[in-house]
């Protein structure tokens, strides 16, 4: 499933989608950025509630296919702009990490 296809489902909306064609091959959940940096795998969708600009660098380092902001967390405009510039996909959902991953498990 691609990031764009996921963004078009009911549960999610796109915050930034410079590379909607990227495939999602799994899911990682975590908020401790240094931990996520070393453990999220390439092409994972990464679910987090963190909203500072460091998440962009972590997503780039781990090469995740997208960040999914859980529980309606929103980002500052400047962070969204940087994400577009740096090619980082970001989706958001009102659901919590558990509910999102349950939904994803039947979609992926």
């Amino acid at each position: 499933m691609t990031v764009k296809e996921l963004a078009n489902t009911e549960l999610f909306s796109a915050v930034a989608m410079p590379h909607g064609e990227r495939e999602i091959n799994g899911v990682y959940i975590g908020d401790l950025l240094s931990w996520v940096m070393g453990r999220a795998e390439a092409d994972n969708a990464w679910i987090t509630i963190m909203s500072n600009n460091n998440i962009l660098a972590v997503a780039a380092l781990a090469d995740t296919s997208c960040i999914i902001l859980a529980e309606g967390v929103s980002l500052e405009d400047s962070i969204v702009k940087t994400a577009e510039e740096k090619g980082i996909n970001i989706l958001k959902s009102e659901k919590n990490a558990y509910e999102i991953s349950v939904a994803l498990s039947s979609m992926l």
């Binding site: 950025l33 240094s34 931990w35 962009l56 660098a57 780039a60």
Partner: protein, 182 residues
């Protein structure tokens, strides 16, 4: 990171990479704050580099000289209501007194405060990995103090390398003993 001691290790590695001959690691605590100050006499940073060190994206896209160390430490400090300050004097403008100071302030009672963790391991790891550079470690809390100065050890050891097994073991035991009365 899971423990602030790992952040200290990370930031101090930057100091060593910057060619510091002496790096001072100071932790000072009051009833509700904890301040980590890392001061080195390394090559320092130009104003241009200094402006970008807390920009995680910039650092990951260039040579990663600084890495994620500063952005993460800053985040952890700010999460508790504290802050991070960096000042630096680059060797090109300050040939005689160059170096960098990183100072992070944490509010210990904030629910998102990261525990300090195993500082003794951090200090011994640093000395073991970099036996030819000097470290001054001080941890102050009210009237108590733990301290270790590798320059003093070097004088006593008369040429025995600091990363000799027995020396590292002694440093570890000495710090642990000091912490028992802390």
């Amino acid at each position: 990171m899971k423990e602030l001691s790992l952040n200290i290790l990370d930031i101090t590695e930057n100091s060593v990479k910057a060619g510091a001959g002496l790096t001072e690691i100071k932790i000072s605590e009051t009833a509700d704050t904890l301040t980590i100050t890392i001061t080195d006499n390394g090559s320092g940073m130009t104003d241009e580099v200094l402006k970008t060190v807390d920009d995680p994206f910039y650092t990951t896209r260039t040579t990663r000289k600084v890495g994620m160390g500063i952005p993460l430490l800053k985040l952890e400090a700010e999460q508790t209501g504290g802050n991070l300050e960096i000042s630096s004097k680059h060797i090109s403008n300050f040939p005689d007194n160059h170096g960098t100071v990183v100072k992070a302030l944490f509010y210990k009672n904030h629910i998102d405060f990261t525990p300090l963790g195993d500082v003794v391991s951090t200090i011994t790891t640093l000395i073991q990995g970099h036996p030819d550079t000097d470290f001054l470690f001080i941890h102050i809390k009210e009237d108590n103090e733990v301290s270790l100065d590798t320059r003093e050890l070097r004088e006593v050891l008369e040429g025995v390398p600091l990363n000799t097994y027995e020396v590292i073991k002694w440093i570890e035991e000495n710090l642990k003993e000091q912490y028992e009365n802390f």
